[in-house]
């Protein structure tokens, strides 16, 4: 009996959320309500499970949960690939089957992603590492792992991809098979890039992402889709090529010093290259990632790609793919070249504030195409993310990672919402709308909530990220110097512009008289759209009110990263002059192949260096 009471005490928010979810929607049938209730209950369950325990009671059995599912990460890459293979054998005309098959695989994938939360130990270093030889003559290995930096991005991928695909079912009627195939492959590639710890593997996954996205824009896009797809492809390729050259340089440098080939990040991060060469290597890596972010002045592919891409592709592009640029910058550009990253950090931060936050917002202010506007707002928002990364203290980096997730949710939702009206009116020109709140109240309410999230209203997710980034930047003395203060103030001023453009969109679309006759008979949100939006809106508040759920798991990894970054930067500044230096191998390092369970501290930190 007491067990029941304890369970009720623990899980009452789940019940409450489920009840509310079942009762709230008015015009929907029982099955629809069931799904909404399930979504609400799942979110509540997530909060309950992740709730930080008051007392720091160490569980009696500190069993290594990391070894419980040793191949989880490989499965996370494999499941979408298997899904894609299953799609190949599903008949082209059987739309329902295609939908169910792809959604089933994505659901499994989502469960797998959420398992990560259950399994990740609260310590620094890589979790769930997995290593095996792949192309032995060249020292190429299959090496995957996850830590607090990539954790939430993987989960974001797992959550948003099914939503994006689900929404697309409403609008994609032609070539659905190709679309589902591309989506599943894209998901596999994104997860793969996020977990890869071998540069070769990473590069393969990174390039693999381009192809499905190219197909989605080029085949399912708008009128000018080919040009946009090519532009997207060429921009990203240009950066990747430079990165490839840089990768080869460090791999061969490593071979020259150690006598063996390795593409492993852990190995390569033991390499300290003199600043003259490191500078160029860093710039090559940084360019590849900053194009993807995208940062001024290499951002112009984004508005074109977004305007032409179909809704689902836009969502994925904005919500996940751009984050891979930020993630890559942290993991590889900063992880491999700390000194150069430090030297350029202050300059880049200036670009992020002026070119990203402010310039992006100013451009957004003048757009008339809703999607283009949101694309520019992405440029502005990612300026915050990058600023937090450049400021490089643990709070600002946590803020930046959280802001990546936030941007994924709010911008993903915004593209979804724009897609809703585009499906109905086949235009995104803001001048065509006005007064929609009267005709589509639910749609308007959802849009206003997401707007508030996007402009960082306290209580929503946007504020927490922005606040952590701005305060972290302001209070970072050793990284950005005195400029940090002005950059923080610049970022804070960007908050005004953010409000200006988002509220302008809201006003143009929803308020004012409903005088365009074409808008007078528009239906409100359909059940599919409600179900897709519900988790995003719930997450807006969950992150806004309980951000610790999200920052706690990433904290050890981020702190360790910042610490090792600073140590290695100092080492390079003091010791590395003309010749490249290779740190000795840290003792508990796993020998090349086999040995599944890695010891803690096996991440980028060369503890043995000092």
């Amino acid at each position: 009996m007491t067990a029941i009471f304890a369970a009720i005490r623990m899980f009452w928010p789940v019940l409450a959320a489920g009840t509310v979810g079942a009762l709230v929607p008015r015009r929907h049938s029982r099955s629809e309500r069931f799904w909404i209730a399930l979504a609400a209950a799942a979110c509540a369950l997530f909060v309950v499970m992740m709730w930080p325990a008051d007392a720091t009671v160490v569980p009696a059995t500190p069993a290594e949960p990391a070894t419980t599912y040793p191949h989880l990460l490989s499965w996370l890459i494999a499941i979408p690939v298997l899904g894609a293979i299953a799609i190949i054998f599903t008949p082209r005309q059987a739309h329902k089957s295609l939908q169910y098959v792809s959604m089933a695989f994505m659901a499994v994938e989502l469960v797998g992603c959420l398992l990560l939360l259950k399994l990740t130990p609260q310590e620094s270093g890589m979790w769930l590492e997995e290593t095996s030889s792949w192309i032995a003559p060249f020292g190429i290995r299959y090496h995957v792992g996850v830590d607090g930096i990539s954790l939430w991005l993987i989960i974001l991928t797992g959550v948003l991809t099914p939503i994006a695909l689900f929404v697309s079912y409403g609008s994609i009627t032609n070539r659905l098979k190709d679309f589902c195939f591309a989506f599943l492959m894209l998901q596999a590639a994104m997860v793969g890039s996020l977990v890869a710890l071998d540069l070769f593997l990473f590069y393969v996954m990174w390039e693999l992402m381009l192809v499905p996205m190219y197909v989605m824009i080029g085949v399912f896009g708008g009128a000018d889709r080919i040009r946009a797809a090519v532009k997207f492809f060429l921009y990203t390729m240009a950066g990747s090529m430079l990165m490839l050259v840089a990768i080869l340089y460090i791999v061969f440098k490593y071979r020259a010093l150690s006598g063996e080939m390795s593409w492993d990040v852990n190995d390569l991060s033991r390499l300290h290259i003199p600043y003259g060469a490191e500078k160029w290597l860093f710039l090559a890596f940084a360019l590849a990632f900053l194009i993807k972010v995208p940062m001024f002045p290499v951002h112009t592919w984004l508005p074109d790609a977004h305007t032409q891409a179909p809704t689902g592709a836009s969502m994925i592009l904005a919500a996940v793919m751009l984050k891979l640029g930020c993630y890559g910058y942290i993991r590889f550009a900063m992880g491999l070249f700390p000194r150069a990253a430090h030297e350029y950090g202050a300059t880049f931060a200036g670009v992020a504030v002026v070119g990203g936050i402010m310039y992006g917002a100013l451009c957004a202010l003048k757009q008339t195409d809703a999607k283009r506007l949101i694309a520019y707002s992405s440029v502005s928002h990612l300026g915050y993310v990058m600023l937090g990364i450049f400021a490089r203290n643990s709070a600002s980096m946590e803020g930046a990672i959280l802001q990546m997730v936030n941007h994924g949710i709010s911008t993903g939702a915004l593209f979804l919402l724009i897609g809703v009206i585009y499906d109905r009116r086949h235009t995104r020109d803001l001048a065509e709308f006005g007064g929609l709140a009267k005709q589509m109240p639910m749609y308007a309410a959802a849009f206003v909530i997401i707007t508030f999230s996007s402009i960082g209203l306290p209580g929503t997710n946007g504020f927490v990220g922005e606040w952590l980034v701005i305060s972290g930047t302001f209070l970072s003395q050793q990284t950005l110097g005195l400029w940090g203060r002005s950059q923080a103030i610049g970022a804070a001023i960007g908050v005004i512009l953010g409000a200006a453009y988002m509220l302008t969109v809201t006003q143009k679309m929803f308020f004012g008289p409903l005088d365009n006759p074409k808008n007078k008979r528009l239906p409100d949100l359909t059940r599919r759209e409600v179900v897709a939006l519900a988790p995003l809106i719930i997450l807006v508040f969950v992150i806004g009110l309980f951000p610790r759920i999200f920052t706690e798991p990433m904290h050890p990894s981020v702190s360790a990263f910042v610490k090792s970054f600073n140590e290695r930067k100092k080492f390079e500044e003091e010791k590395v002059k003309d010749e490249a230096v290779l740190d000795p191998k840290p003792e508990p390092k796993v020998a090349a192949v086999a040995a599944p369970a890695p010891a803690p501290g096996a991440n980028a930190a060369p503890e043995g260096a000092k």
Partner: protein, 903 residues
């Protein structure tokens, strides 16, 4: 009391009920409101408010009890003369986030924690109390609105946010409430969103507040940096670090000048930044422009949000952080000056407005200016008291105006005209309750002796005259100097001079500032009395002019009939309603232009509307006795003493004069005499209004004045063109910048990186493509031309020499070629006898002394017998001359690099 046993002071979960009830109300109304119908909505929202109010009252008593307990405990066990512990009731909901502190990766935990102390208790009662009254009022006022549930959802949400604001225990959480009320204000101003102007007004309010938010964020960051804390007690404990660092004054250097760096103390920067936030939320110069436009919202909203509660949150923040603000006398002086300027400026605009809500809006701005004037001179309790009294009388006035508009609307059916005072008059007969209540509130705001406004406003003015905020850095030397003067009768001497010099180093407000601000305040008070009675007389006295709403043209032709003409552009004076108002006017002409019948008379509002107005009217009349300083009846002052006592002038343990707010010598004697100008201001202002608007002979004076100074009148009517100026400068500037950015993005950034690159690639491709004709003859011709080129190249000998230097030995090596023969000539010497070939022929080794140079000629003959030659210059640079030698050796080669450091 049992209450404190039930809820522990450090885990006072009753706060959850105060906060939770309105939130739950908002949620249920927003989500289920449409299903439960209007009665259900009314029930939910009123229940939520009453529960919240009841819990707030209980909390108030619990706090009183707790304070008593703490005091007794302290009397028993505490150190005599030591600091008494603060008494507050706190509730930690959950840990929110952890942010950086700047102390080498240190972390600062920000919690969702609420607490209630004396200051927030009063605010809490005002919010829930007046909030309940206004909810009651709204149930009737909004009865015919289709979006009834949406309105109450927003209103409940507003109350919740406002409570978060005042109950928050740290600054980021206060900021949640701060932005939350802003968002609710945005939603409620644009409540009738189908009018473009309303939506624009909401957006304007939000963005103006956002400008202030930048200040809030900046201020919080500075505080977090120096104090390492953001919760109230943490800031209070570490506030000294904002001015002192290890005993030395802490300065932030903003920029370097020739006369030394321009620097401010962190306290000044933090306080100025926070004050920027306050000017946004509390509608002061320069960010006040949104408040008059915000009157586009429903009238109860204007009463609750834009008069009684939200706009006073800036004041609340300053009172809450009074211990921080007094650390910066400069900021205090700025606050006082901005307050006085706003009070006067807004009053001049209110003098000529015709829209009843616009008059009240500008009056609110002006009264907020008075409050800032009060806190700016360090009279925190009076500034805060004015918040409370203003909440009473301004809420009453707005609600009364709402009753009037309600009645007028029932007759005129036009949103704009039913607010226009030119169509009112004589309503005293029809709406006696409203009249009496509004009359009471008008007396209070105009400052009739012994009403609430009198005690708060005249108290503020008195303190403006006598108060002086002392720089914290000089308090100690000043106290020493005073002691010296009073006890030892020393007025000169080196010691005294040194102290005087130390004091003179730091900025102090000049002595004339107080009296000047006092005069400005009196002037503004006079205007207040005038425009408020003008409003009262034009609404309730004379004949009712709404029987027949004349067309615009007639009004313009005969301005005297309605006392004041419309300005040329109808948008200009009804600007919140904008151009859109025009078509409404046209409609109403069609509908009502020919309707000459008297029709239904304006009627008294129904009881849910009349009762709140009456209660607030009573409070406006008698609320002043909460803090009647001259009469020494001051329960509120005593209640707030733990909050403001420390900064006020007092004797500390050692008997030295302590505190930051000092009073002029002989201030006590001035208390009654300084009241005279205040009473005169009331008398003159109200008398002038009576003479002009009620008395027969004065009735033509406004028209005459208007004709005499048409420009002045028009400028005041158009609010001194401040909106237009902002439009032209800041908004226009941003707009131009955005235009520039958007164009630059397409043509410069994209132009160079994408378009230019692609053009170059395309161009090269186009050129190369021309060679791919597919015609064999052309290819053959290309082959022939190419072969010819190759033959031509190889037909010529190419003498190329590579020089290697090793010490003083130079090795010259000639490039090989097809059948080449070589002949060398070294430095004008005899040429070698013949061309040779083979390994020996290609290299020559030459020894050069230091400073020597030579010319070597190489001749090459190829297989076709053609020759070509090349002259190579080799030189061995001389060692750098010793630094002492001023003369340079003659034979130094001219190209020799200049030795470093030779000068």
């Amino acid at each position: 009391m049992d209450l404190l046993k039930l809820f522990k002071p450090d885990d006072f979960t009753l706060l959850a009920i105060i906060l939770g009830a309105p939130l739950a109300g908002a949620f249920f109304n927003g989500v289920f409101g449409k299903r439960v119908g209007k009665n259900g909505v009314r029930l939910i929202s009123m229940a939520a408010m009453l529960v919240s109010f009841f819990a707030a009252v209980l909390t108030f008593f619990a706090l009183s009890q707790h304070r008593h307990n703490v005091h007794e405990e302290f009397e028993k066990t505490g150190v005599k003369g030591g600091a008494e512990p603060v008494s507050k009731l706190a509730w930690l909901a959950w840990q929110w986030m952890s942010m950086a502190t700047g102390q080498s990766d240190g972390r600062l935990s920000i919690d969702v924690k609420f607490s209630v102390d004396e200051l927030s208790a009063v605010m809490m009662l005002v919010i829930t109390g007046i909030g309940t009254l206004i909810h009651l009022y709204s149930t009737s006022y909004m009865a015919k609105d289709r979006s009834y549930h949406r309105f109450f959802a927003y209103l409940n949400l507003f109350v919740f946010s406002m409570l978060v604001l005042v109950l928050a225990d740290n600054m980021p959480l206060l900021f949640v409430g701060w932005e939350g009320v802003g968002a609710c204000s945005y939603l409620l101003i644009g409540f009738w969103f189908d009018k473009e102007a309303n939506a624009s007004a909401g957006r304007k309010a939000f963005i103006a507040n956002r400008v202030g938010d930048v200040g809030m964020i900046g201020g919080m960051l500075v505080i977090a940096h120096y104090c390492g804390a953001l919760d109230w007690s943490g800031i209070a404990q570490n506030v000294e670090k904002l001015v002192l660092h290890g005993g030395q004054p802490e300065r932030i250097i903003l920029w370097q000048r020739e006369a030394g760096p321009f620097s401010l103390s962190p306290a000044t920067i933090a306080a100025l930044a926070l004050f920027l936030g306050c000017t946004g939320k509390s509608a002061q110069i320069p960010l006040y422009v949104w408040l008059p436009d915000a009157m586009a919202g429903p009238t109860p909203v204007s009463a609750l949000i834009h008069a009684a509660t939200m706009v006073t949150s800036g004041l609340y923040l300053i009172c809450r952080l009074n211990f921080l603000f007094v650390y910066s006398p400069f900021t205090m002086a700025i606050i006082a000056c901005v307050g006085a300027a706003t009070a006067l400026f807004a009053a001049t605009i209110a003098l000529v407005q015709n829209d009843i809500k616009k008059v009240l809006a500008y009056s609110t701005v002006s009264q907020l200016g008075f409050m800032f004037l009060g806190v700016g001179v360090g009279a925190f309790n009076l500034g805060f008291f004015h918040v409370v009294t203003h909440a009473f009388f301004k809420a009453c006035l707005f609600l009364g105006a709402g009753c009037v508009i309600h009645a007028m609307h029932a007759r005129i059916h036009d949103d704009d005209k039913s607010q226009d005072m030119r169509f009112m008059g004589g309503l005293r007969k029809y709406m006696p309750w409203t009249f009496y209540s509004m009359g009471a509130a008008t007396l209070a705001i105009a400052g009739m002796p012994f009403t609430s406004g009198f005690f708060s406003k005249d108290g503020i003015l008195y303190h403006v005259f006598v108060n002086r905020v002392v720089n914290p850095v000089v308090i100690e030397p000043m106290a020493m100097m005073r002691k010296m003067e009073e006890q030892r009768q020393v007025f000169t001497g080196p010691e005294h001079d040194m102290l005087a010099r130390r004091i003179a180093q730091y900025w102090q407000a000049p002595n004339w500032l107080g009296p000047v601000l006092f005069c400005v305040g009196i002037l503004a008070a006079t205007m207040t009395a005038f425009y408020m009675f003008r409003l009262l007389f034009r609404t309730f006295w004379g004949e009712f002019k709404g029987w027949k709403v004349a067309p615009e043209a007639a009004l313009r032709a005969n301005p005297m009939e309605n006392l004041e003409p419309l300005v040329d552009e109808p948008e200009a004076h009804l600007d919140a309603h904008g151009a859109h108002g025009d078509d409404h006017d046209d409609h109403s002409h069609d509908d009502h232009g020919h309707d000459d019948s008297p029709g239904e008379a304006p009627a008294e509002a129904p009881w849910p509307m009349a009762i709140p107005v009456a209660i607030l009217g009573l409070l406006a009349l008698f609320g002043g006795f909460l803090l009647a300083e001259p009469l020494h009846i001051e329960p509120l002052g005593k209640w707030l003493e733990p909050i403001f006592g420390d900064v006020m002038q007092h004797k500390d343990v050692a008997g030295l004069l302590s505190g930051f707010v000092h009073m002029r010598a002989g201030a006590a004697a001035l208390e009654w005499p300084l009241m005279v100008p205040g009473v005169l201001a009331f008398a003159v202002g109200s008398g002038a209004a009576y003479y002009l608007y009620v008395h027969e002979r004065g009735i033509h004076l406004p028209g005459t004045l208007m004709d005499a100074y048409p420009g002045l009148h028009k400028a005041a009517l158009n609010k001194w063109y401040v909106d237009e100026a902002y439009e032209a400068t800041i908004i226009g500037g941003t707009d131009a910048l955005a235009d520039g950015a958007a164009l630059m993005d397409v043509w410069v950034v994209d132009g160079i990186i994408a378009k230019l690159t692609s053009a170059v690639v395309t161009g090269i491709g186009a050129i190369l493509r021309t060679f791919q004709t597919g015609v064999v003859h052309v290819y053959g011709a290309f082959i022939a031309v190419g072969l010819l080129g190759i033959f031509f190249f190889f037909g010529q000998p190419h003498p190329n020499v590579a020089t290697h230097k090793e010490g003083d030995t130079f090795t010259l090596e000639a490039a090989p070629g097809l059948g080449y023969e070589y002949r060398w000539t070294i430095d004008e010497g005899a040429p070698e006898p013949a061309f040779t070939t083979g390994e020996k022929a290609t290299t020559r080794t030459i020894q050069l002394k230091k400073g020597e140079e030579k010319y070597v000629t190489l001749e090459v003959k190829n297989a076709f017998g053609r020759t070509a030659q090349k002259i190579v210059h080799i030189a061995n640079p001389a060692p750098p001359p010793p630094p002492s030698s001023s003369m340079k050796p003659v034979g130094v080669p001219p190209f020799k690099p200049r030795p470093k450091g030779a000068q």
